[in-house]
Structures are given as C-alpha cells and as structure tokens.
C-alpha cells in the first residue's frame, strides 16, 4: 500500500500538535494552542449551528445567496474573523520582540518567521481586501440606485474563492507550516532550494485564490458602475464612494493579473523545476520584484481608495453639508489610480539600478502626494461651514486626517532613494505602511461599519462602546507604531525576532503597550456588536435614515429589502436623497409598481469554493488525486450551471407595493428626529434634516447644546 499516493506528503508529524509532543517548547505550545483555537473554534461553530438549528438557514439564506448585500456582509464577517487572528499574531510578535533582548524569547525563529508571514498575508489579502470588497458590495449598488451588481453569481464566486483562500491559511495553523518568506515571498528564499516543504505553497495558493477572486470582483464592479446606474445617475452625480469604487475596480482588473502570473511562476519553479526566479540557470529574482510590485503598489491604492470614499461620505454627512470640491476629489482619485502604476520601483530602490531611474521613480512617488494632499484638505474644507457632530465615525475621520498626513510625510521621505537606502527594510518602513493602512484603510472600514451598520441590519451600533473602541484604537495605534519610526532610524531591522541593543527596549515596550490598547479596542468593538444585537429594539431605526444621509441608500428601509429599490429612482442631482428631503420629495409613493426580477439562490458558488479549497490543499500537499478530482468537479459545477436557463425568480408587484407602501406610510407619519437626538432611542431612522431646521431657525443659538460630544 503506497500511502503517499493517498496522502501525498501529509504525515502525522505534519499536524501542529505533533510538534508539541516531539519538541515540547513554549513556541511549539503556542503553535499548538493556536491550532487548538482554530480547531475548537470550528467545532464550536458546528455545535452552535447544530444546537440552534441554523444549518438550513445558513445554507438557504446566506451561503447560496447571490444578493450583493448578503455577499457584502459575508465578506465583512470573513474580514473580522481573519482580523482577530492576525491582530493576535501581531501582539505575539510585539511581545516576543519585547522579551527577546539578547535572548531567544519565547518564540522560535521559525515560528516568528511564520507569524510575520501570516500576519502580513492575512492582513492584506484576507482582512483589508475582504473588508473593502464587502463594503463596496453592500454600498455601491445602493448608491447608484441598482438592484444588484451586474453579475451576481460571479460576485458570490469571488467571495467563495476568497473564503477558500482564507480557509487554506487557517488550515495551515493546524496542518503543516506556513511560509517564512513574508507577505511578499521574495525568491530565491521562497524557492524550493531554500524553502522546501509546504509553507510557501500555502502562501502561493491562498494568495492565488484571493487574487482570482479580486480580479473577478473588479470586473464585476466596473461593469456595474458603467452599466447599472439608475436613470439620471450620470457619472458626475455619483457619490464619491462610487467613484473610488470604480477606480479601485479598474485597478483590480489591471493589477491582480501580474500577481496571478507571479504566483504561478513561483509555483512552476517550486513544483516543476522551472527557472524563473532561481539562483542560476537563467533565473532572475529581480523579475519577481518587478512583477510583484507591479501588483503590490496599485494594491495599496486598491485598499486606500474605498476608504477615501468612506471618509468623503462620513465627513459630508456628519458635517451636514455638501462635500467640498467634489470634482476636485474625483480628479484627484483618478490621478492617484493612474499614477499608482508608475511608482512600483520605489519598493526596491536598493536593487542597484542607476541613480536616474531611482530619481525618476522617486519623483513619480512624490507626485502622488499632490492629489492625496488635495483630498485631505478637501475633507477639511468640507467641515468648514458645516455643523459637525462628533460621532464615532467622525472621530475616526479626525484621527485619520491627523495621522494620515504624518504618514504622508514619512512616505515622501521614503520616496527619496537616499533616505530609503537607510531605512528600507527597517521598522521605519513598517511604521510607515502601518501608518497609512491602519488609520487610513482599517479605521476607514471601522468608520464605515459604524456608519452603514444600521442600513444593513436595521439598528444602530451602541455609540458609547464605539467611542470606547475609538479611544483605544487611536492612541493604541500611535503608541504601537510611532516608536517604530524611531527604532527604524536607529537601525532596527524588520522581521527580526531578537535584539542585542538595549536602546531599543523602552521603545519596544511602548509599542507593546500600543498593541495592548489595539487589542482592547478590538475587544470593545466585539462587545459593541454583541451589546447592540441585544439592545437592537432600543437601537432600531427601521425608517432607514439614522444619520440624516445624503445618497440614495438612505432613502430605503433598514435593513434594505431584497430588491433594494421598489421602483428604480430617477435622479436629477448629486446628493439625491438630501435634495429630495430639502424639496419635500422624500418618501413619496411612486406612480406604479412593476414585477421585479431577482436572481435565484444557487449552490454553484459555495461548491466552487469548496472544490477550489480542496484543489489548493491537494496542491500544497502533493495529493494528486485530490487535485485532479477537485479540479474536474470545480469545472463540472460551472458546466452544469450553464445548462440551467431558469436562474431568476419574479417578485410580484403586489408584494413589493404592500411592503414599500407600508414603509413609506410609516416614514411619512414618523416625526423627524433632530440631530440632538441622533444617538438616543428616539432615532428610528427618520431624520429632521439639519439644513431644513437651520433655514427654519428651529434651533435657536441658545438651545444648540452639544449633545453629542
């Protein structure tokens, strides 16, 4: 009996628990602990689903759904789950660096290498990407007045491929080792000669699955925005979030292909003895660096642009004012998107190319600072002439403006090859990109969750706990990362698991404290969600407009109905819902209702995801029968689906009418809630528009108490 035929390279020692038995050390116990958490977590979920009898609803209403809203929510859940893992890994690394002064600390060098690799890979591909994708999924169709994205099934497939990649990375906690090559996986270190074993293969296939999912997402969203806008919604009437979604989608279409190509090349090197990036035989790792960053730099903007969109929505809404410089912001966004393809070389100024090349790419990098700077000041000017309410989302925005501009400063510094020569590969660089991604992207997504959660679920999130999480996250970030700038200038390299310089200690201690605060912020955030679910009746805002919103998504009930808009809106201006409220056109009954066609649920996407995951697992462990079988099954699902011509169902006009008229009647009957009571249980989602009250003089100067701050 040839076991290798069945199990490939999988052995019992591949399981993480074997490590703790064979080599009982703290590092191995932590690894086993993490593996146990993953296994027990999965078991707990299974038990919960069984006890609560949630299997059927989970399958029927969620996994098989192709509704963009549900797909979006599932993306966000995935992002939060993966965030929990990656943030704990970050705290572990911080703790290790703190105690590993001239000693080995509690993590082995190998374990530390896996931690920084999974932390980076997860945070980029399975936290940030699902977060922005989920948000764009949920919000963009609502903002352009569409019933769904152009290709709903493709959307679900994108999600399931991403989930498959995430599951693969979670499996690597329990079975085998992960790569130690960092999230960039530079060869030749990640080649088979220097990294034998399954680690790099886990990275390759997890990232490839995510990459293909993102390509399809970009395609889908770009087509949706070009083709599915409601009548009257010209491009320059779209909310800014849609503009940033469009630019991000275009970047995804162009930028993910190089990543797919480069992971395939690395795989061919490792599996089939090709020589793309090997030492010798004509391989050249510099091609890897070029191709990887041809993806990698646009990726940075893929992540940040949707967050810019969020900030634009948040600042206008909570300043109760039009966005300043709309056109300017649109052009700045497009400038950034185009320029993002012209700067990739700044990730390797140190590779020995000529000074002229370095200087040109350095200047190109600085030029991106111009549109970004313009955006930051546009947001500031949006607040001028507004009536600012300090909600949790707004606090995140204020924090963003201050910290992001500092990140911009260090970014311009790093754009200088001369400076980069000194701080490249040090903690200065680590501090810089966390400075852009945490206050920019991550906090942008947190702000977005606070902002759009009521739309998705019909109740607000607990404001006090939201603030508590902000007051942990914001200083936590400063403490955790600003010391790293200084450490980097002192020469502390990144990805280093032990030190011999006592000068680093106080700074590492500060960073550890910051990491603790960030963990506390996350704990508050989870608590906030749990508490809000429990108090959902008190926090309910079924009338759909809790924040005195401006774009179309606030004109419909919360949670949004399956069909989004009972009748597709006809838009005549920017800030369509705001204008409707101003002119008294809001909540009017439409003249007539029509049947609505919605796509049927289908098992296609989850099955493709399942087989993709099995396929990737087979590849990682060289289980060739599994590779072949799951590959065939994956495509069989696609082919079988293509023979199903009955993919839509009709919702009769009568049902739509009944539900929508009930909502409109309730909305018309409800008293508008002034902004003073925004965070009280009086806020059922019908806003008394700030601009109207101001015109009517309903808020005398003496009574304008600052309720919110």
């Amino acid at each position: 009996m040839n076991w290798e035929l069945i199990f490939g390279q999988l052995q019992w020692t591949s399981f993480v628990f074997a490590g703790a038995i064979l080599d009982p050390s703290l590092s191995e116990f932590i690894a086993s602990g993490a593996g146990s958490i993953a296994v027990l977590g999965a078991v707990a979920v299974v038990i919960l689903l069984t006890v609560k009898r949630w299997w059927v609803p989970l399958w029927r209403d969620w996994l098989t759904s192709v509704d963009h809203k549900k797909v979006g929510i599932m993306y966000m859940v995935l992002a939060l789950v993966m965030f929990a893992r990656a943030v704990i890994e970050a705290a572990l690394m911080r703790a290790q660096q703190l105690v590993a002064y001239d000693s080995a600390g509690f993590l082995s060098a190998d374990h530390f290498g896996q931690l920084f690799s999974t932390h980076g890979t997860i945070m980029i591909f399975f936290v940030a990407m699902p977060f922005i994708t989920g948000l764009m999924n949920y919000v963009m169709p609502l903002q352009i007045g569409a019933r769904d994205v152009s290709f709903p099934l493709l959307n679900a497939i994108s999600l399931m491929l991403t989930v498959a990649g995430a599951i693969l990375i979670m499996i690597s906690l329990v079975v085998g080792q992960f790569s130690t090559g960092g999230w960039t996986a530079y060869p030749p270190f990640t080649g088979i000669e220097f990294s034998p074993g399954e680690g790099v293969d886990y990275w390759i296939w997890a990232v490839s699955l995510g990459s293909i999912g993102s390509t399809l997402t970009g395609l889908n969203f770009a087509v949706t925005i070009y083709k599915k806008r409601c009548p009257g919604m010209t491009l320059f009437r779209m909310p800014l979030f849609c503009w940033t979604t469009l630019c991000t989608s275009i970047l995804m279409i162009f930028a993910m292909a190089p990543l797919t190509a480069v992971t395939v090349m690395l795989a061919l090197d490792r599996y089939a003895g090709f020589h793309f990036f090997t030492n010798g035989d004509g391989g050249n790792m510099m091609n890897y660096a070029n191709l990887f960053w041809l993806f990698g730099h646009p990726e940075v903007y893929i992540l940040i642009l949707p967050a810019f969109g969020v900030w634009s929505e948040v600042v206008a809404t909570f300043s109760a004012k039009r966005i300043y410089g709309y056109t300017s912001l649109v052009y700045a966004t497009m400038c950034i998107a185009v320029l993002s393809f012209a700067v990739w070389l700044h990730h390797f100024f140190t590779m020995g190319q000529s000074a002229n090349v370095n200087a040109i790419f350095g200047i190109a990098t600085m030029v991106i600072g111009v549109p970004t700077g313009v955006k930051v000041y546009d947001w500031l000017l949006t607040m001028v002439g507004g009536r600012i309410r300090f909600s949790t989302s707004m606090l995140f925005l204020i924090n963003f403006l201050l910290t992001f501009i500092l990140g911009g400063l260090t970014g311009v510094l790093l754009a200088n090859p001369g400076v980069d020569f000194q701080v490249h590969n040090t903690l200065f660089l680590v501090a810089h990109f966390h400075n852009m991604i945490i206050p920019g992207v991550l906090f942008g997504m947190f702000a977005a969750v606070q902002f759009w959660f009521p739309k998705a679920f019909g109740f607000r999130l607990h404001e006090g706990l939201g603030r508590a999480s902000f007051w942990c996250f914001a200083p936590g970030f400063l403490l955790a990362f600003f010391p790293l700038y200084w450490l980097g200038m002192m020469g502390a390299t990144r990805r280093t698991y032990m030190w011999s310089d006592p000068e680093y200690l106080p700074w590492l201690a500060l960073a550890m404290a910051g990491a603790g605060l960030i963990l506390a912020g996350f704990a508050f955030m989870v608590t906030q969600i749990v508490v809000s679910v429990r108090q959902r009746d008190r926090l309910a805002c079924p009338l759909g407009d809790p924040w005195d919103g401006r774009a179309l998504e606030w004109s419909i009930p919360a949670p949004a109905p399956e069909w989004n808009f009972a009748v597709l809106p006809d838009v005549t201006s920017r800030d369509a819902f705001y204008e409707a409220k101003q002119s008294g056109q809001a909540y009017r009954s439409p003249a007539a209702y029509e049947d609505i066609e919605v796509p049927r649920n289908t098992a296609t996407a989850p099955l493709i995801g399942l087989f993709a995951c099995a396929w990737a697992f087979g590849l990682v462990w060289h289980i060739w029968w599994l590779v072949a079988v799951s590959f065939v099954l994956m495509w069989a699902v696609v082919i079988v689906r293509s023979f199903n011509m009955n993919t839509v169902e009709i919702i009769p006009a009568a049902r739509v009418k009944a539900q929508n008229e009930a909502f409109l009647a309730a909305a018309r009957a409800a008293p508008g809630v002034p902004r003073e009571q925004e965070m009280t249980s009086d806020n059922r989602g019908k806003a008394l528009p700030e601009a109207l009250t101001a015109r009517a003089g309903a808020v005398p100067a003496g009574r304008a108490v600052e309720v919110l701050s």
Partner: protein
Amino acid sequence: MSVSERLHPGVNLGATDPESHEAAEEVVFGFWIFLMSDLVLFAVLFATYAAMSVQGIAGGPAPAEVFDLTAAFVETLLLLLSSFAFGFAMLAMKYRENARSVLAWLLATGVLGAAFVGMELHDYYVMITAHGAPPQASGFLSAYYLLTGTHALHVSSGLVWMVIMAVQIAVFGLNTAVKLRLMRLALFWHMLDVVWIGIFTFVYLFGVVS
C-alpha cells in the same frame, strides 16, 4: 436613443426586443473587460519572456536553435483559419439562425483549433527530445513554455467551451443565452488569435532572426 442604436451589434437577438439588447450589452461589455484583464496577464508573460529570452539562456540552447519556423507558420495558418471559420459560424447565427450550419462551422473551427494544439504539443515534444530543451533547462525556456503554454491552455479551454456550446445548441437551440455565449466565445477565440500573432512575431520571428 432610438431603438436601432440600442441594438447590440454582432448578434441577432430579435430587433423588437431592446431590453434583451441592453442586457446583452452588459454581459458582452463584462466579457471585454475580462479579455482586457487576460491580456494584462499575457502582457506580463510577454515582458517576462522578453527579459528572459536574452538574459536567461544560461548556457542552454538559444532561441534560434530550438524554434521550427515552418511549424510555427503552419500553426499560425491553422489558428487564423479557425478564426475565419468561427466568423462564418457567427454569420450563420446572425443571418440564417440555422443551428445546423452554426454547428458545422463550429466543428470546422474546433478541428482546426485542435490541430493547432496538437501541432504545438508536437513542437514541445521535438524540442524536448531532439534539442534537449525542456522548460527546466533555462530561464529562457521556462518563459517560453509558460507563454506559449498559457496560450495553448487558453485555446484548449476554448475547445472545451466549444464542445459545451455545441451541446447547448443541440439542447436549447439558438436562444438568447446561447447566442450571447457564442458571441463571447467568438471574442475569446479572436483574442487568442491576436495573442498568437504576437507570439509568432516576438517569439518565433524575432527569435530566429536574432
């Protein structure tokens, strides 16, 4: 816009049904974007080949020694003819709505396409056995096999797609969904032609000249 302006070109979906045409525009536009993304992939592979065919030879065989220009030329003809045949299939679909003649032209396309893939596999076989030039021999050959192999894989999946479409024509007749799928397959097939012309020029002609 008048009705005629909203009709999607290149496919006959029934002139009186503007809604189908609007829906058609969406899927076909989406497919164009997919093709664009696919072309980015090929661009990356071309760029890799351009670098490695010069710097990645590493003592192994050079392009001029391993390429058979005659075979590549015949392959080019086969692929171009198959595209030509697909053009006739599309014309038959649009103007005659005759499933039988669509199928006949698809068969011609498929046979020519399969002959192309067969010849390419034969090329590989000759390179590996007669010239000692497997992909593992050098960076140049790795890049060569990846570029042409990716193209061959695309052509092969196009062939599988063609078989499925033939079955769907038989099962469903030429309904709107089938027509639109054929239209996208045609776009895909023509794109592969364009990519192959690039390969023939930059890989084979330039390779033999240098």
